[in-house]
């Protein structure tokens, strides 16, 4: 977190990795609990960033959307045999689609709330798309480096 805050590749790109924590929660976890946990996480991030409520609201939104995203990309056999959403178990393409859409929703919400108007909508859209791509890349690298291969 502290390192990534100081990384600014471009003024349109904001690299974030902590939403992954929410995305990697067990699939069977009740939705309300996921939402509350993500709000707590978002608030912790907010306290460090002096942006109270901004990260938290985006996290809550993403956590709320998580069941829908999961059901869109439901594999043929359902999720019964998978406890955790990991890319080793469910495949790289599934993981990419799942994380990609979630991060896109997160970024869309985040930048729209941050700007809080539609005046610079093209700039905001640009930020959303570029940041999503970059976050996805970062999460992928993180997963390949640190994820345990045998779960």
């Amino acid at each position: 977190m502290l390192v990534l805050d100081n990384v600014e590749l471009h003024r349109l790109v904001r690299p974030l990795i902590y939403p992954l924590i929410i995305l990697l929660l067990p699939i069977a976890m009740p939705g309300a609990l996921v939402i509350i946990l993500s709000m707590v996480l978002g608030l912790i991030i907010d306290v460090f960033n002096d942006t109270l409520g901004l990260h938290a609201s985006a996290c809550v939104f993403m956590a709320f959307c998580r069941p829908f995203v999961l059901s869109i990309f439901r594999p043929r056999g359902g999720y019964e045999q998978f406890a955790m959403p990991s890319y080793q178990k469910l495949g790289l393409s599934w993981f990419l689609r799942y994380v990609g859409l979630s991060i896109f929703l997160f970024n869309a919400f985040f930048f729209l709330v941050e700007a809080f108007n539609f005046r610079f909508i093209h700039l905001t859209l640009f930020k959303i798309i570029l940041s999503t791509i970059f976050c996805l890349l970062l999460i992928l690298i993180h997963q390949m480096l640190f994820a345990r291969t045998k779960v």
Partner: protein, 280 residues
């Protein structure tokens, strides 16, 4: 009653979502409007000490550049010191010395206190800076924050050991700035951490690229003639009475390490006087 409870249980996810989101937006809106409670700002003890730890590491990396800045500032101050009393020297030097007002009232009206930046962001729309000095060291809200090169921000929130300040790179920050004798209003558009905008400079002002933009001294926070930046580019839209000026900020916010808190000793008196005049 039982039906109501079962209704809530059925849609519990939705209700929790709405509840959390409402809470977040409530926090967001109060946070932007009023001065925040220091318990949840980045100036509190826990986050402050964490930032300090991560900063100690970063300090070593920046030492070389830091030395250079301090060296340059020393040279500038020495020049100022020697030029102050000798008019002869003034005429000889090519670089025009900065004017020092010697007025018994203004003689010691600003106090500078050194501090270190322990958290700083440049990529949001509302950027803030946390520094390692707080009320224990005499820091107060609405004090100015400057670096060796120019204006940095305004302190908004103070705890015992840390303060958080609104950076110039914050869309909520408003500042009066001047070019020569003309004043305009300074604002940041949220785009680039190197540039800011100056508006409301009348179109009859004779301005050129690289002209210095400095503080106006109206706000009672910063001393007059303190460097903000230089003109990078300007344009006069057709039919407009005011210039749109792009400022190159003097402070490099990417490398911000050492700052000074500026306290105006006459500020309280000035505010009280202005307040009583406004209420007459």
């Amino acid at each position: 009653m039982r039906e109501l409870i079962s209704f809530f249980l059925k849609y519990n996810v939705l209700f929790v979502f709405i509840l959390c989101e409402t809470l977040c937006f409530y926090l967001l809106s109060t946070y932007n409007t009023y001065h925040r409670a220091s318990a949840v700002a980045s100036s509190n003890a826990i986050t402050g000490s964490l930032f300090k730890m991560s900063n100690d590491v970063a300090d070593y990396v920046g030492l070389k550049g830091e030395n250079e800045t301090l060296h340059n500032e020393n040279a500038r101050l020495r020049q100022l010191l020697f030029n102050q009393n000798s008019d002869e020297l003034k005429r000889d030097t090519l670089v025009e010395p900065i004017e020092v007002t010697v007025d018994s009232v203004h003689l010691r009206s600003y106090v500078f206190t050194a501090a270190k930046v322990i958290n700083n962001s440049t990529n949001g729309l509302y950027n803030n800076i946390t520094i390692n000095k707080g009320s224990k060291h005499g820091f107060k809200p609405d004090m100015g924050l400057v670096s060796a090169n120019g204006v940095v921000g305004i302190i908004k929130n103070v705890s015992t050991n840390y303060s958080s300040a609104m950076s110039l790179l914050n869309k909520n920050l408003k500042l009066t700035a001047k070019i020569k004798q003309y004043t305009g209003s300074f604002a940041w558009d949220g785009m680039d951490a190197r540039y800011a905008q100056l508006k409301e400079v009348p179109n009859h002002a004779n301005i050129q690229k690289n002209d210095t933009i400095s503080t106006s001294g109206y706000s009672s926070i910063f001393p007059e003639n303190f460097m903000i930046g230089t003109i990078e580019d300007f344009e006069l839209k057709e039919g407009s009475n005011f210039y749109d000026i792009k400022i190159k900020l003097a402070t490099d916010f990417y490398k911000l390490r050492r700052v000074d808190g500026v306290e105006n000793l006459n500020r309280k008196e000035q505010i009280e006087l202005e307040y009583s005049t406004a209420n007459e």
